[in-house]
């Protein structure tokens, strides 16, 4: 298997894809329990600061990702620690259990055959090879698309971002250490995004393609993938937060919500699609939205000591400078070390460029929030990946009811403070965790004229 550090030739990409794909039968032969156990062991090794591999990850990822060492450690632990054998098995059991259910057939197909009702059994079919194309903004985003197919028994070839090749390579190494029979079912490659020959060599051998990136990248990959393969798309995404009445009923409650929102904002330096760019804060409560903005600012200041932001690239610094300047002129700007919170009552207030620059806006409640999210399709709409909330059940119920009326809005709703650490077995972008990975062989049972009654196939 090619190492990620050298650009392979198209022939080498083809060879790697073929070799990894050839592991499918052996991988399935390991059994789900052994696969899940190996993956859990690999995750634990990487998550731990005491193992050699965990230490290497902590040493090499800050340089590769631009995140601070403390942020890397937080990301490793928060994303890998939940990956247990039990959790993986529960997910597999729930998702892959053969299903039998009644179906309604139409008129008898032949004289003498019986009609409805009848039954159908479905068996899961696992892909022979999954190709994963990663973006480089959040390094742990590569975890889920790699471990879920492997746990299913599908080999994976992962094309890393040219900016961040370290984590997938470390994950492969951890898997090899955990189970020498499972590790080779993951191939890690790095080649340029526009390299058509390289890409073709990979895509035409894959049954499923999982692609992360901007909308244009996703669209291009979809267009170049053979029609016989399925594409699971993770395009451009944004996230937001909502702070409702109950979280603003007292200074203490507001401070708790602000601390949670600060963590969501600081995590991965606000580079990912699960990072909140805007927090809508309900007006007319004991703690008003402007005061809440200052609390988030204070919480981000405090967080900077434990989870400092990584260095800022000059190009992004320019974007930050422009955004902060406009924010200060249009509303109020609360700047701190490595972050800024803008408070704006004007609808023209634009979200920041990431890197811990948060916009706080007042709102009247779930109805206004939903209208804002549904109304700006270029920024939110289908791009909305997560909505972190701090409110009581009544307000949450109202929010859910309103969101369900918007066909394009299908975010993951979660408590503030958990936006950046989604469970690896959670829904993502409105899809179940294994959606698109598994296809189903369905067998309809029924009497066939002139034959013995058929037993359902299981």
């Amino acid at each position: 298997v090619s190492q990620a550090h050298e650009q392979p030739s198209p022939a080498e990409v083809a060879r790697v894809a073929s070799e990894v794909g050839a592991r499918a039968e052996a991988l399935r032969g390991l059994g789900a329990e052994r696969r899940a156990a190996a993956i859990a062991r690999a995750a634990a090794v990487l998550a731990s600061p005491r193992t050699a591999l965990g230490q290497r990850a902590r040493a090499s990822l800050p340089g590769a990702t631009g995140l601070s060492p403390a942020m890397v450690a937080w990301a490793l632990e928060s994303s890998l620690a939940p990956v247990s054998q039990r959790a993986l098995m529960d997910l597999m059991d729930a998702a892959l259990a053969p299903a039998t259910r009644a179906i309604t057939t139409g008129a008898p197909a032949a004289p003498g055959a019986t009609g409805a009702p009848d039954s159908m059994t479905a068996r899961p079919v696992v892909p022979g090879l999954v190709a994963v194309i990663l973006a480089g903004n959040v390094f742990t985003a590569g975890l889920r698309p790699v471990i879920l197919p492997l746990c299913l028994g599908a080999p994976v070839v992962c094309k890393t971002s040219s900016r961040e090749q370290v984590f997938p390579a470390l994950l492969r190494e951890a898997l090899l250490h955990a189970d020498a029979a499972l590790g080779p079912a993951l191939g890690v490659l790095c080649f340029g995004g526009g390299e058509r020959d390289h890409e073709r060599a990979l895509l035409e051998r894959a049954d499923v393609v999982i692609v992360y990136g901007g909308d244009a990248t996703v669209q291009e990959v979809r267009g170049r993938t053979p029609a016989t393969a399925r594409v699971i798309e993770h395009g451009h995404g944004t996230s937001a937060a909502y702070v409702g009445a109950s979280a603003l009923a007292s200074e203490e409650r507001a401070r708790r919500a602000a601390t949670a929102l600060a963590l969501d904002t600081a995590a991965y330096d606000q580079r990912g699609c699960l990072s909140p760019l805007v927090a809508w804060v309900r007006s007319g409560q004991a703690v008003d939205p402007r005061r809440f903005a200052t609390l988030v600012h204070q919480a981000l200041d405090a967080l900077d000591r434990d989870l400092p932001r990584g260095p800022l690239d000059p190009v992004l610094g320019a974007a930050q400078m422009q955004w902060r300047g406009v924010a200060a002129v249009q509303g109020e700007l609360f700047e701190g070390r490595g972050h800024a919170v803008a408070y704006s009552e004007t609808p023209r207030g634009a979200p920041g460029p990431g890197w811990r620059n948060l916009l706080v806006r007042p709102c009247q409640g779930p109805a206004e929030l939903t209208a804002e999210l549904a109304g700006d399709r270029s920024l939110w709409g289908a791009h909305l990946k997560a909505l972190g909330v701090a409110c009581d059940q009544r307000e949450l119920g109202e929010l859910i009811r309103l969101l369900a009326l918007c066909p394009r809005l299908c975010p993951r709703l979660c408590p503030l403070g958990r936006m950046q650490s989604p469970p690896f077995d959670a829904f993502a972008e409105g899809r179940t965790p294994l959606a698109g990975l598994v296809s189903w062989l369905s067998v309809e049972a029924g009497e066939i004229a002139g034959a013995e009654p058929a037993e359902p196939v299981t």
Binding site: G136, P314, L316, Q322, V329, E335, L379
Partner: protein
Amino acid sequence: MIHDPGDARDALARRCATLIQTLARGARDDAERDALLVDIARWQARHIAPHGRLVHARARARGVDVNQVSSPALLPAVPTDVFRMARVAAHPPALDIKTFLTSGTTSGARGAHHLRDLSLYDLSAGAAAARALFPDVPRMTLVSLVPPEHEAPESSLSYMVARFHEWFGGQGSVHAWHQGALDLDRLAHALDRAVAADTPVALLGTSFAFVFAEDGLRRSWRLPARSRIMQTGGFKGRSREIAPDAMRALLEARYGVPESFIVAEYGMCELSSQLYETSLVDALAGRAGPRRLRAPAWVRASIVDPDTLTLVQGDQVGLVRIDDVANLDTAWAVQTSDLGRRVGDGLVLLGRAAGAAPRGCSLAVEEALGAVP
């Protein structure tokens, strides 16, 4: 904002004009310039809302009191995007006598620089060009490849070049531009006449205009000695892009003007003063030095850290900030998105940090990182 009856403003205007006139004669007095900049900053913070808000935000974040500071570097500059979002002027719209607009952006909003008085602009532009572009001649034939003023009344470049025609233009000066397009026949004719008469010319144009000319012209010239070229602006997606070194080589080959007589100008719609490369001045003085932009003495050009916006040390890469005494009524300090670094007594530009449109962090990050030079 506090209403200014005009006395304080007029007193500052007189100080600005005196300083520019004094320093234009070749003196340097950075202390006097900085003191004036701080006084303008205090006045603008009281009379221009965006300044007031920026100063307030800076005071809150870093404890900087505009009434206590002695160095302009400690006070915030106005980011160029603010000119797209808010009116930056101490005077009401009724007093505008000129509004310069930035070129269009992908978002469609254009920055606006509202001026109630062009005297400081004229004084500064004239003095800077006299020192950097025309130090050896009072007048010469100008051939400009920019839209004439009547075709682009909102363009600060067209305004400036029009003034250059008045102040420095000799016989035969022409605009090689007609009805929204570069007029290559007129350009070729002007160059032929200059060669025939052995009269040096100054070609003034934008980078993309020179590229259009390069693509359209079928002939080359060897312009008379002491001919020169002023090249300004980027390409802004209007033509193919050419690296500065390659661009100068093309211009030298096409017009027969040596590279030392090719001078880049750095100006912005939001400023009233311009920076020029030192190549021509150095060549005329027989000096060899690195090609660099040098600010006139009444302008404070600095490189700031993109994150903290404080001055960087040494030749570190950062963002270009321009403090301009001639921007009395609008923004005494403008923070650009241009990347640069200090070289000797000047600076070099390293390109513009592509503005990350606020369309969600993941996309912005992808695009912005992809744009790192």
